[in-house]
């Protein structure tokens, strides 16, 4: 690192402690609208460190870490606590339940999976008709969610109830260079915000929003963005790496992001046209410090920034995401290197952020 790029605060490093916390966060069940389990972990972590902590009307955790001096730049970081999952909607008796989907999930990935139901994490499964009993052509049809049942066993009554949420039972693990778990979208971001709070930046008024209901329409971020009234916002999330080979050997040109290529900086998604000054700032920091980064391919999808940037008179916003394969399925694969580089890029960019950036015309 040259003198020119030397940072006043050493960049936070991910070690055993951070991985243990990520494991807890990944294994917790917090389906959109019922984020209590992750909220409890977040509150436990932020309370000793924050200057102000509130839980708002929707269940967002809003945290303020004051700057060393007054009138500092107000920077909001948002990471969503919620995950996609299920809600039990009807009791068919004998431990069988109908259920509905919460958040954007592919019906095709549901069948044949172990799940956890309710606050007590009662185990269950989503079964399938045996292959032996299927009619010709049945395999060519997706089984609609209306025909699937959550099965917690024939002694079921009383253990769970209609209205309970459920998610996949996947347990977090590290495999080689990879982080493997459910709900890493966006517990990776939640853990990054907690790490930023442990290494605060004195010249910034840090406004951290641990949001709810991102997966069902960015609803938590909308009110958090209003309440915190930031001058700049950065959404910290996980974005799909659709980088598997094409079936016919042609180049995969719509990969969104690539695993192992560093944090993904958003230019345009379905909800936000990122502020060019912030994009430039992130890229310059990455170049100067040799932190790998990639630009997420413009396209659909989005982050909490989509709701935040139009609050009040407008908030210059950008998003940084950790790439992850197979998002919104029972398992997400991310890379430890990508996570570390995302944290490094975010922290370094915050350290170099001054009100001057807003003096430039967008």
């Amino acid at each position: 690192m040259t003198e020119r790029t030397k940072l006043p605060i050493p960049l936070p490093q991910i070690g055993a402690e951070q991985l243990a916390l990520l494991e807890r966060l990944s294994n917790a069940v917090a389906v959109s609208g019922d984020e209590g389990e992750v909220r409890a972990i977040v509150l436990e972590q932020v309370k000793p460190l924050a200057d102000e902590v509130t839980v708002d009307a929707l269940g967002n955790v809003l945290v303020t870490k004051h700057a060393a001096a007054p009138n500092a730049l107000r920077v909001m970081l948002a990471a969503h606590m919620d995950e996609v999952g299920f809600m039990l909607t009807r009791d068919d008796e004998n431990g069988l339940y109908q259920f509905g989907l919460v958040g954007g999930m592919d019906e095709r990935v549901l069948v044949g999976k172990p799940i956890l139901v309710g606050k007590s994490h009662i185990p269950g499964v989503i079964g399938a008709k045996p292959i032996h009993l299927q009619e010709r052509g049945e395999r060519e049809q997706t089984i609609p969610v209306e025909q699937l049942r959550i099965d917690i066993g024939p002694g079921g009554s009383g253990k769970v109830k209609v209205g309970d949420r459920a998610t996949f039972a996947t347990r977090f693990q590290q495999i080689g260079p990879s982080l493997v778990g459910k709900a890493l979208d966006d517990r990776l971001g939640v853990a990054m915000l907690l790490e930023i709070l442990r290494h605060p930046i004195p010249q910034l008024e840090l406004l951290l929003a641990f949001t709810v209901q991102e997966e069902i329409g960015l609803r938590g971020a909308r009110v958090a963005g209003y309440a915190l009234d930031p001058q700049i916002a950065i959404a910290v999330d996980s974005t799909p790496a659709r980088d598997l080979p094409n079936y016919d050997g042609t180049e995969n040109q719509s990969y969104n992001t690539r695993l192992g290529a560093g944090p993904a900086i958003y230019v345009a998604d379905s909800g936000t046209l990122s502020d060019p000054r912030l994009i430039r700032h992130l890229a310059q920091i990455g170049d100067a410090l040799s932190i790998p980064y990639q630009f997420r391919q413009p396209g659909g999808g989005g982050t909490d920034a989509g709701a935040i940037h139009t609050r009040r008179a407008g908030v210059p916003s950008v998003s940084i995401s950790v790439p992850g394969r197979y998002a919104h399925t029972p398992v997400l694969f991310a890379r430890l290197d990508d996570w570390q580089n995302s944290l490094s890029l975010l922290h370094a960019a915050l350290q170099r952020l001054t009100p001057d950036i807003l003096a430039q015309e967008r």
């Binding site: 069988l96 008709k129 395999r139 394969r325 398992v331």
Partner: protein
């Protein structure tokens, strides 16, 4: 949960796909050795465990056959560190994406079955159920390491740990047919204090899911007068037709059809009635889908019987079985053997057997 649960969970934790049953065989051998007089391994890999009878020699012999092989997957290639695969036994590709597996490469690798984004698939498959040809196993390792550790033909086992459900039910992969291995184990345990006339050969067969290789060969080596196949059958549950299923946890099934000698069926149903053991009749108009299909036609032919343990979601990694039904199957076999007269085979007559 019952005493057999820890052993059954152990059975589900080891691999043993059709054709490569060694890991599970070792476990069963360890469990059965103290319960029997002799243990041997057949030319195709089936485990033969003899518990000698107490009658005068030559004693009649019967086989209790439970197949120990599992369905699973097999590597067909490696692309950019991702493993392509085909099936061993019948697997519905719709249940695969998101499943944890163990790839038995140069060392065992943890992996997950994954699907490419629809944009990377042939247009005809977009928004359609998955085609096994285009699924992969992602091990999370870098391509160079995968290329070194995995080759075509490596077996891939399901790896979801079993979970206990409410109502004495267990969910997991390969309960077809390790549930029946557990039932035979219970039978051998119950026979310990019993003086039975017949030699009992507990056989954990190989390759049922692919070739019936074990069922077609072990009876030839043993030459039993009677052979009983214990296997799982379809339990009533979501998506499965009522007409072809049996209630879960409400009793075992006794097979009836061309793969079953009617006199043995009759002996079992009368016994079950006498000891108040709940059962359903399972009518099998053609192939029973069990080892009995193979065993019946070995050598000059063998009178066979099928006992079924109802199981939901067969051939998925979340099969569900009732521990009570496993106990019942083991208990019924032990009771049958305990009461079996040495001249039973001479007593059975086709014209005497009426359902």
């Amino acid at each position: 949960m019952t005493e057999i649960t820890p052993f059954l969970k152990e059975l589900l934790s080891v691999s043993g796909l059709s054709g490569t049953e060694e890991p599970v065989r070792r476990l069963i051998k360890d469990a059965w050795t103290p319960l029997v007089d002799e243990v041997s391994i057949s030319k195709l890999g089936s485990l033969h465990a003899l518990r000698k009878g107490h009658g005068p020699e030559p004693r009649p012999r019967l086989i209790l056959a439970a197949h120990m092989d599992a369905i699973g997957l097999m590597a067909t290639g490696v692309v950019n560190g991702l493993i392509r695969f085909t099936e061993v036994g019948g697997v519905d590709p719709r249940v695969l994406p998101g499943q944890f597996v163990t790839v038995h490469g140069r060392r065992d690798l943890t992996g997950v079955i994954v699907k490419p984004d629809d944009r990377s698939l042939p247009p005809r498959l977009r928004d359609k159920p998955f085609d096994m040809e285009y699924l992969y196993v992602d091990t999370g390792l870098l391509p160079a390491e995968v290329a070194e550790l995995v080759r075509v033909g490596d077996t891939i086992s399901f790896a979801q740990p079993p979970v206990e459900l409410t109502g004495d039910a267990l969910a997991g992969h390969t309960l077809d047919n390790r549930a029946s291995v557990a039932a035979v184990t219970i039978c051998l345990q119950e026979l310990q204090p019993v003086h039975h006339a017949w030699d009992v050969w507990a056989v954990a067969t190989v390759q049922e899911e692919e070739t019936l290789g074990g069922a077609l060969t072990s009876p030839f080596a043993i030459r039993p007068q009677l052979a009983i196949a214990i296997d799982v059958t379809f339990a009533r549950g979501p998506g499965s037709p009522e007409s072809r299923t049996y209630p879960l946890g409400k009793g075992i099934t006794l097979g009836f059809g061309p793969n079953v000698h009617p006199a043995i069926y009759k002996a079992f149903s009368e016994l079950a009635d006498r000891i108040d053991l709940p059962y359903s009749n399972e009518y099998m108009p053609r192939h029973s889908g069990t080892d009995a299909y193979g065993m019946q036609i070995v050598a000059e032919g063998i009178p066979t019987m099928v006992i079924g343990i109802p199981l939901r979601y067969m051939h998925t990694p979340v099969e569900v079985v009732s521990l009570k039904d496993i106990q019942r199957a083991g208990h019924l076999m032990a009771q049958f053997i305990s009461a079996l007269p040495a001249d039973f085979v001479n007593q059975i007559r086709w014209d005497e057997a009426n359902d």
